[in-house]
Symmetry: C2
């Protein structure tokens, strides 16, 4: 049994230039829930000038179905984001930092060390407000500016995050640089360091076609939690090199075919992907939804 954390409404949509209405986002989330998805990164609380697609985070969180069995996550990159998140009913706050100095400098004008200090303070504030928090570490498997990232640096950040109260760590391959052997090495190092009781998620992008293979490799090494995006949302029609997250229904198809439960209904996910294609009005990256009938 694995758990999917659906990130389509957040990571999937954030780079899309075509505006998606609050109603459409909420309808997407309703369909995902109907298909059995129980964890959804629904919004991010970021500067709307930088990410206009996420400007309606508060409205989305007001309108989504309130259900005991569904966990909504909201992504936060700074204290101001946390302040917004705490005014909404998000069930868990995802606080992120990249493991690369150069990536952090370019995106948030801070080093990793500075970022960890700031973000662990944000995590503690979330905890003080009784809001669960998870830590997301970006560029774990390589940085487009800095190159290789040492596993020890990743483990050090994860340790700081766990000490600050994170109930899960997610390791993200922000620009699709991971390979299966590396994924297994990092996973084993994480489990060696923090034990297999510490919830560990993986967040893969399919930039170089390895999203599914890396997910398989991570599963083989012990990972049970996977971020994924319906229809592989996250590509951008105006930047063909920006490729989306690993595709939810493609990942579900693989695991279900392997006899590994996902708790979801593949046919409903495929219908949701087809609906999403109609909303975006272009072919999306998912393979299974296009193969139906093949």
């Amino acid at each position: 049994m694995i758990e999917i954390c659906e990130v389509g409404p957040r990571d999937g949509l954030q780079n899309e230039k075509k505006p998606v209405s609050t109603e459409e986002k909420v309808h997407l989330i309703e369909q995902l829930i109907d298909a059995g998805i129980r964890k959804i990164e629904a919004v991010s609380f970021v500067n709307q000038k930088v990410v206009p697609q996420m400007a309606d985070a508060e409205e989305v969180m007001k309108a989504v179905p309130k259900r005991e069995d569904v966990t909504y996550a909201g992504l936060v990159l700074s204290r101001s984001g946390l302040e917004r998140a705490l005014l909404t009913p998000v069930d868990i706050v995802h606080v992120m930092i990249a493991a690369s100095d150069q990536f952090n400098m370019r995106n948030a004008r801070r080093t990793v060390e500075q970022g960890v200090a700031e973000q662990t303070a944000v995590m503690k504030d979330a905890g003080a407000a009784k809001r669960p928090v998870a830590g997301v570490i970006g560029t774990v498997f390589g940085c487009p500016f800095e190159g290789d990232i040492s596993i020890s640096r990743v483990l050090k950040i994860a340790d700081a995050f766990l000490q600050a109260g994170c109930e899960q760590i997610t390791l993200a391959d922000t620009t699709g640089l991971a390979n299966p052997i590396q994924v297994q090495a990092v996973t084993r190092a994480f489990i060696d360091e923090f034990g297999d009781h510490t919830p560990l998620g993986m967040h893969f992008h399919n930039t170089r076609g390895l999203g599914i293979a890396n997910s398989l490799a991570a599963y083989q090494a012990g990972v049970k939690i996977f971020d994924a995006s319906i229809a592989g949302l996250g590509g951008c029609p105006f930047a063909p090199k920006a490729v989306g997250n690993v595709c939810t229904e493609d990942l579900v198809h693989m695991f279900e075919q392997m006899g590994i439960g996902t708790g979801t209904d593949l046919n409903k996910l495929i219908q949701t992907a087809q609906w999403m294609e109609s909303v975006m009005a272009r072919p999306l990256d998912g393979m299974v939804y296009r193969a139906v009938g093949a």
Copy 2:
């Protein structure tokens, strides 16, 4: 170290409606060789009314570079195909049959049993003509008409092929139905039956996005020979559900990143994929060649 058998010129192009000239095919093959590819399924000897793109098989084989270190394969589906193949300098004849009765009935109006009898006779004739021969078994991992295919049936066909003189068996996932656990089960059963000295190739399609993950799984189970198609050729612009072979440069990228040699130059493969895109005049399925610079 793994070996790529490049099938772009044959399986990649055969469904393409846009005519590709003999000169373009030969130039593709020249570029593949320059990139380090040493085995190429260059042509098929089939009815040109059914597969017009392969009508110039003899001309292609006349024009390709003759090199001691390059092996050219030609696909043969019947005795008449073999007769044509033997008049060309193809180094090895690939003789194919599907493991599904219904697939064979629809495509060649014969049962598996009839097909095995006919094709093993073709193999023996090839051997008598001193031409090496390999056996390709299709629909091994599932048939769109018949559903599941038993491993024992696949092993029985492979045994007949080996007894008829095949120096390699390739197991093909004709319509992209394989999953990683199944791939490993079939691979282990094959190795249990025929030993790990019997050359075993895998031929995956990416119809449901699992081509690379299945290749990884096969490698983990002991497979060292992989069919692949430059730029993921094999999709068809007029039939969006027909998806191509696993992509050569994407597969090479994965293995090289994992520290597993392929004997090829990834940059030259990427350049070849980009050239192929210009020939086909549409975006192809490969991910790595589009991610360059991402």
